[in-house]
């Protein structure tokens, strides 16, 4: 398959992920959308690494996977902390800070 095919799929996934962040109100789902964006990036990295025949891209992919895992932990921790006090996790409810 040509490089462009990978890139187009990557761009589509990224856009879907971004749209998910914009339209969903549940932080868990938003969070999954962000993961989708990261994986779209991973796909691009892998495609580039393959076609450029360079390892940099692969290294990046491993780093992103690790970071994503760490983000899951931190994100869930914050969600749980909020859930404990509010019994509800709607991002739109978090709007006392504004102006």
């Amino acid at each position: 398959m040509p490089l462009n095919a990978y890139l187009i799929v990557g761009a589509l996934l990224f856009t879907i992920g971004a749209a998910g962040v914009l339209v969903r109100r549940n932080p868990l789902v938003m969070f999954m959308s962000i993961e989708l964006m990261l994986n779209a990036v991973n796909l691009s990295f892998m495609a580039f690494a393959h076609f450029l025949d360079s390892v940099d891209g692969w290294m990046f992919v491993f780093l992103v996977l690790t970071v994503a895992a760490a983000e899951v932990v931190v994100g869930l921790a914050i969600i749980v902390a909020i859930f404990r006090t509010r019994r509800e996790i709607d991002v739109d409810e978090l709007n006392t800070l504004k102006g």
């Binding site: 962000i34 691009s44 580039f48 450029l52 390892v55 970071v67 983000e71 909020i82 404990r84």
Partner: protein
Amino acid sequence: MILASSVFDFTPTAQDWLRILPELIVLGAALLVLLADLAIPAKGRGWLALVGLLGVVAAAVVTAGMWISGDGLTAFNGMIASDKAALFADLVILFAAALGLLFSPGYVERQGIRQHGEYYTLLLLAALGMMLMASAASLLIVFAGLEVLSLALYILSAFIVARPRSQEAGMKYFILSSFASAFLLYGMALTYGATGATALTAIHDFVARHAAPTGDFRPLLLAGLGLMAVGFCFKVSAVPFQAWTPDVYVGAPTSITAFMSVGTKVAAFVALARVFMVALGPVAAAWSPVLWAVAVLTMIGGNLYAVTQRDVKRMLAYSSVANAGYMLVAVVTGTQQALAALLIYLAAYATMNLGAFGVVLALERSDGLGTVLEDFNGLARRRRGLAAVLAVCLLALAGIPPTVGFAGKFAVFYAAIAGGRLELAIIGVLTSVLGMFYYLRVIWAMYFVEPQPARPAPAFVVAPAAPPASASAAASSSTGGVAVAEPRIATTVRADPAAVSVAETPHVVYPGTWLALALALIATIALGILPGALVDLATQAAQSLLR
């Protein structure tokens, strides 16, 4: 697919480790704090800050030593730089971390934070991430440093678990920052695809050889640097990517706000300079229009937002946006002199902003409130020292000589004019005039407005028993749906002695806070009267990075 096997031949040498010694020391201090937390009894947890502080000071000493005798080369096969720009940034970040640590013990106590060990560990890890990001010689390390600092700061922003504002700050910061990170990462991927490299020198060589001479930029490269610009602009709080800044700065514990407002800016700006001014310098024609527009929007927007703020903490957050605009002027200018000016401004911003947030922190009540403009009325008579420090720092932020803020603004605007960006200098100067309004208003309140009669404490806090809390929660359930008053929370509030005493008498300002404020004050004034040394260091740092 055949991998180039030569890459894997690399073995780290002792030199490699020495070049990242400051980072290692901070990491060691973070781990040491975590261990010490287990050993030290609950009452003596303030000592954890001291452990961290010692680590930070040691790292600063090592950094200074490396400035004098280091080889300035990169470590780990061109991944991490130890040039003077990195060391300069490290010093500023360590200064911010030291002041953050000094601010913390009293404040953390008063805000009812229990998990001291985690708090200090995360603060040090955030500093580590900042140092890594500022020292990055590869996109990979830029991203790694960014994530280390961000992950630590997400948690720290949400650290006052029982306070909704803190939770909200953490949540917003987390979602938005991850979102922006994804853009940054995608930009990096596309840049990698366009140039075939992630090492900054290799990117520089590629664009200098292929893109710059023809002036024909491949769309992949353009998209890549555009998306990277988005990510960086988010991190430095530039308009229109600034929206998270005030919310997070206000909601987060003030000690963290003070630290991160400075540290994140330094890390992100130095990384931005490395990626855009240096690596992508040959194709400045491609990115400078975008950053030009962002700089103008940020200078105007940040100041306009700040003008109508009533909460001083929030005003300072918007002031941080406005200051990002001035720093972006230096980035857009792109000359070596501008890079030096950027570093001067970062150092100046560090001293004056830490001082200003430090005073806000010292005044903040145990419920996290008490930072509205009215609370500053007549402060000069109640708290002369605090008022004086804040006045000097605000004058510095407004750019009045002979403070360091003036030296910073002078350097940046002068570099802009010398670099042919007269229009940016003029916009910067005009928006600075706007900035006078809101800085001045606080000074005015402190010195010239009669203090208000002691505000009666809000009834619901004076009587923190369960009934009102559950009543309000019940009210919440009628609109919100699910919520039922959870007794445990109410108990927490009641059990926390700090939360009960909102009608508290003026609390003690801890010696550590005083020390930190004195340091910030002295630096703000001394570097303003004699900025020679700072200019010297910044110029050397800029020379190490951009020739």
